[in-house]
């Protein structure tokens, strides 16, 4: 039940102080009560919200998706279909990103391997960049 300063909240949640203020500013976090000297003072329960947001950000959800997820959490009798849809959409994004990064990785490995550590005019890195046709998979 002890009130907590923003610095303490930051330490306990792993969200930086300016970021907490930023989340309040965009309405993702509701404004906490203030001390006599106008300093923010948080309830322990606010830490759950902060942890939720941080976790969702780590998983790459966008702020607007998190806003929706938080509304859902606040209203537990709603259908979870939209939470499910948001997570599924994120999963598809992540899968696509992994595929595309694997293609890039193959390209970069080729470039780095082919570099004879000589001068630029024999460098495979520069050569491949200049000519897309020299890529392993020109589809990226």
């Amino acid at each position: 039940m002890k009130k907590i300063t923003i610095g303490e909240a930051a330490r306990q949640s792993g969200v930086k102080v300016p970021t907490i203020r930023y989340y309040e500013g965009i309405g993702l976090l509701s404004a906490p009560s203030r001390s006599e000297g106008n300093q923010r003072s948080y309830e322990p329960s606010d830490l759950n919200r902060l942890a939720f947001i941080r976790h969702a950000r780590e998983l790459g959800f966008e702020i607007e998706a998190i806003r929706t997820l938080l509304h859902l959490q606040d209203d537990p009798h709603q259908s979870c279909a939209s939470a499910d849809a948001i997570a599924k959409a994120r999963l598809i994004e992540v899968e696509q990103r992994i595929r595309s990064l694997n293609a890039l990785k193959a390209e970069l490995e080729q470039m780095v391997e082919g570099c004879g550590h000589g001068r630029v005019d024999q460098c495979r890195v520069i050569e491949v960049l200049a000519d897309h046709g020299k890529c392993v998979h020109p589809h990226h």
Copy 2:
């Protein structure tokens, strides 16, 4: 040897018109000559430069890295050690990103599978977001 308008350069290089102007503005591309009516007119050789930049951007290199790579390309007697270093650094970044995205993917799959399509209070998506400890690999 024919001069080319910015729109034509955009079409041939796959870089959008405002992006070409932006690259000129930040000095990544040198300013081309102008027509009587003050319109940019490019040499065919400028298309190579544009293709190089586009390719490097597709591979995820940052603008500053590309600036360095372009300088190297302009001076082919230099050692290619720095080109090599830039490409290697990018490779390491990509590898890390793939690892981290694979961890996220596992998390998201768990969340989506566990969702019984019922109401929010039984939804695994919301539950896991609220409690990091319920993650498969809490290290992400």
